[in-house]
Symmetry: D2
Subunit: 306 residues, 4 copies
């Protein structure tokens, strides 16, 4: 498989679509991103890296971070986590509170905002946000093999100043005893994890263990192969909010998107792929990023569905 040629093909497929979609404007730090950015990186299970466009430029990974905090939280509390958060697609937008009321404060899955806030609360568990964020950052640097990864403080501050729906979710779950730390501390962790800044290359490297039965390219184990499989399953069914079905239908790979325009996709046994293009479609997922992954999946035959 000539990955370079495939990436050239992807590049041709998206060429007329760069800049499509609407850049997230709810926080100033995201709104000012150049909409014509486009980058893609493929890291294969044997550690080879292929890059396209702005694959080296860090961007705000936002909700893609939920994959990594989930991994950390499962390591910390194990399968007991599923008492506090479900594993089902929600059928509702990323920030919906309706489902929480009907299901008594238990979020449908760890990838909607409410679920990720519970995961952050699990990681915090009595510590100070600074310590927990240090732990998250260390983990990201470890799996990406890159100590240059940072949290963008300006983005984090912006999130904190505008995140009133997330504050609503956290207070609501606190009322149901499903947030156990002070709400502002848990939100502090959540807002900062969303402000992690990675390039496509860093992000694909960081996600490789999910494509590689739980192991990094050099062979270090991050999670068991069963856990990697299960996280992939969750990404497939819940990774794109109420457009998860459509992403599975069109791309056929587990993936997790963020409103910064990034998507991490996993081709089990083959590669981790990161794509970045800031313009979002109606469901809040990268428009051109999705298109690029659709092209890549078709050209590689990596769909998990045959």
């Amino acid at each position: 498989m000539d990955m370079r040629a495939i990436l050239e093909g992807v590049k041709a497929d998206v060429a007329g679509h760069i800049g499509e979609g609407k850049v997230a404007d709810y926080i100033p730090a995201l709104a000012k991103i150049d909409p014509s950015k486009f980058g893609m990186a493929v890291v294969t299970v044997d550690g080879e890296v292929f890059a396209l466009g702005d694959a080296d430029e860090p961007f705000s990974i936002q909700s893609v971070s939920k994959v990594f905090t989930l991994t950390l939280a499962l390591g910390r509390v194990g399968e007991g986590l599923w008492k506090r958060v479900g594993r089902e697609p929600s059928g509702t937008p990323f920030n919906s509170i309706v489902q929480l009321e009907q299901e008594h404060g238990i979020p449908r899955n760890p990838f909607i905002n409410a679920g990720a806030i519970v995961v952050a609360d699990t990681l915090l568990s009595g510590h100070e946000p600074r310590e927990t964020l240090g732990e998250i950052l260390s983990f990201m640097r470890h799996v990406a093999g890159d100590d240059a990864i940072v949290i963008d403080r300006e983005v984090a501050r912006s999130e904190q100043q505008t995140g009133f729906r997330n504050a609503a979710l956290a207070n609501y779950m606190f009322a149901f005893s499903n947030i156990m730390n002070p709400v502002e501390k848990t939100l502090g962790v959540y807002f900062h994890q969303c402000a992690l800044s990675l390039s496509c290359i860093q992000l694909a490297r960081a996600g490789l263990f999910l494509a590689n039965r739980g192991r990094m390219a050099e062979g270090h184990s991050v999670v068991s192969s069963e856990r990697a499989r299960r996280i992939n399953a969750l990404m497939l069914t819940c990774g794109h909010y109420d457009a998860s079905g459509d992403f599975a239908f069109r791309v056929g790979l587990p993936g997790k998107s963020g409103v910064g325009g990034g998507i991490l996709a996993i081709a089990p046994g083959k590669a981790a792929i990161a794509v970045w293009s800031p313009g979002l479609n109606a469901n809040g997922n990268s428009a051109t990023g999705t298109r690029a992954l659709e092209s890549l999946a078709r050209r590689t035959g990596w769909s998990i569905f045959g």
Copy 2:
């Protein structure tokens, strides 16, 4: 891979669980089934058949039929079908009408009852139910390679006499102009397709084209490889109603369940698997059947998630 040994392992894993769950009792014809039945069949892409337990005994496939009517309808109207039915997990039970009201008569996906009724309506499109049912039956016999397959008239009659929630769904969608034939005709098709009676072996054979890039074991093409992939994606995200996420998490294969206790699962590139055990779990999916598939996926490593 020694499939016989693997099936023996599965048998051992489920041995203490035969009879678990609750047999569907809403129609008399299903309620009288012996709860201790258990059968499983694996048909590999090269056409080998492996069977376990009551794999030869026909049972009512119920909602598993939705996979086949969807395949037929896509062949008939193509991707235009998606104007009348969505492709997203619903987050609600199989017979929910709430989502229909909020989304103006467009069902979330073709595997919840409302969606399958729209699919049946598409197939009917002006014909008589008898003709459409003949077409469905022919298709089932063709893909299963077995002319002995029949529709159980007693079950169909029972469904018709008790299917008032389905009648509500159909009338509701008719009011939104998303059912185009007389409601009782569309329901007639739907109730009879649910009464298709197949054994595990017949069902696994019938589903093999989904594991085999759209082709039957003998090589005849049923659908394009892309369409087979997409149907698999829908089975993965929507095939088990509001327990689809859990099935993906535990089993890791596209699957479609029915209240008769049957499940069809697809291991792309490997095999089609049918399992039957009448006792249902809280979400209306076969309890022991799910357990058997979990065991099989673990023993074979067929999970699509790595």
Copy 3:
């Protein structure tokens, strides 16, 4: 109180608004009504009748009939009726099915469509629709003191041909065992009661017992004073679907509207008022009719709220 002068004042208040709103168009028989019609009748507890405009012209009373079938049903089954239908405002449109799913087939109140269908089912209770409709018609003629009242067969037929959302509601409640007669018979009663044709004068006369502690102008008792009070309470809280609060706020009288443009309002101890103007506001209630009642209530000081 010079009622004639008051009605002249109301006439002046609505003069520039005749024809406002949108005539119901979902059934042909209603769509062809002249939108410039306007009539009003006030019948005082001592039997005096005051009329304005087209107060003598029969119109389709539609959902206003629900007040009378509720009265009949309470007479038949007493307070046991409240096991099958609630007494709370629904917060949802007249034909919503969402609430039914959440509350297991028990409609919120007898004035939303689902609730009125249950009431019709109660009246039917094993008889033929023809007999029950005869009983309803007799009751209307009795309380209105006018044997000329009829059911408009053309309207009834139209309703039957287009009432698929009502059919959905009925089938749905049947599935929850809250409809006990064959669905098509219950719907037959419901569609025909909605097609009752009365003039404003007839309608105000028919409703007078609710203003008069349960008694007709001549003194004949229809219901106990307590029951009259309770029906009035239900009209106030639930009589205008999800605009009941607004009607109470603006008019301050118990009232029941119909999509034919009629409203029956009750000023307890004072009078029954019927108004008719076919154009509907966004909530499906007569636009100019509501305005006329607002004017009347202000000019008479009849608001029940002080």
Copy 4:
């Protein structure tokens, strides 16, 4: 009308029911109230006061305060208030957030928690909570004619420490720009207004203007007669959350309940009535208090429904 004899009758009617229901336990300061307390006060429009039981003992009026803050807010911003809060019964519990999501941050009415928080926000409008609370307290003292009325600081502090669902509501509406002051300030006002402590006699006096066309017993105007009518209408349709219909049906008077076990009821043109009994029914309204009002309304014939 011999009010003393009537109150003796009420006393006899509730005698066997004192202590029924469940005392609100979500804040410690409420949980420790003696459940056998029962008081009732009737203040007639000519200023006579009749009292029963513990009518002199102050209790936490909680949501009954919403009537008074609404009155103040209407005086401040006039009918423009209705752009930020609706006037319809909600059909949902007092602290539901579902409706807010569906209706984009506009609460259904000013008597559910979300609506009352918007009203508090209106009163705050740039001031410090201390100033606004001073204004609310002055108003309560003025209408009750009693400078001894206070806010219970312990209760307020308890509310603040446990009010996470209210914090969720406020943050949620802030995200929709329907809370305009800092969330914690608006909540500060809200939690303190709920901690107002009045006896039945004080509360009935304070509410008298609503029974008396907007005027206090001595004749001072508080609001216009039209505004008094409208507030009464809102109390009738929305004053008891999702049991408002039942209260109208059984009692037939506008009323507003609080989880402290108090209810203020208005008999327009007749009297204001306050009742207190801490045990709550399933809907969160005073069980014995409702019973007492039912008895009073029957014995006086004060129902507004005839």
